[in-house]
Amino acid sequence: MNSAEAVCQVLDAAEKAGVPYMLTGSLASGVWGIPRASKDADIVFEMAGLDPGKITQHLGPAFLLEDQMSFESITGSYRWILRVPEISFVIELFLLSGDDHHRARFSRRVQQMHPTLMRPAFIPTAEDVIIQKIRWGRDKDKSDAMDVMSVQGPALDWPYIESWCDRHGTRVLLDQLRASIPPDLLNS
């Protein structure tokens, strides 16, 4: 098994359980920006309650769900760690929170055919990747956000991005990152 096959099995499990999902994190930012090395895959699920077993019951013994969950204080998201020990692969499972932007991001997600996964998969829009990355604001997030801005250039819906950054109080960081990009990349 490799990481793409493992992710594919988790998405199949979500569909069997009737749980809507989207791929996020570095996989999503790499699709809209520049692919980079990462240690894990992130998937957001929309389901009632705090029971990832609804999904993992459809996975085989190659997958191992850690007991401990964690909580993200900015958006109120819960996270579980799912391991595939034989390839040292980690998938972070996030429960869709009630946060306004997380809800908007999930409802605007787009479905695309991904040959690597041999199936269609949902990912957030480029604009929503930028908004979330700037909100977390770690160095790797800022770099990912800049890459998406640079690669997508004038195709981005800037009023949408700016309105959410204004609401989150991250407009200054957005403007700083945008100003650091060579202008020709943003305009053409």
Binding site: G30, P85, T116, L117
Partner: protein
């Protein structure tokens, strides 16, 4: 930054961006997965080099411990343990 260096850095970055623009979304996702597998395999190899006698189970355990430590650093206060 020295203006000459800034021009050089911008030029290198511009090339990376233009290369990414020439790739399809599917190609980029495939590249991300390849990089992910390489990173995880490198970590396994590093643990094995330091501990050549580890059996498969202990190797998995050791790598999992390293990944937990990396994640704690990466989370940097954003995520906290929650009651199960």
């Amino acid at each position: 930054m020295n203006p000459d260096f800034k021009d050089l850095a911008d030029d290198i970055y511009r090339r990376r961006v233009l290369r990414a623009r020439r790739m399809s979304l599917g190609e980029k996702l495939a590249t991300s997965f390849e990089l992910l597998d390489e990173a995880n395999q490198t970590m396994r190899n590093q643990v094995l080099i330091q501990n050549p006698d580890l059996d498969a189970d202990l190797l998995d355990e050791q790598v999992a411990r390293l990944q937990t430590r990396y994640r704690a650093i990466s989370d940097r206060g954003i995520f906290k343990q929650a009651a199960a």
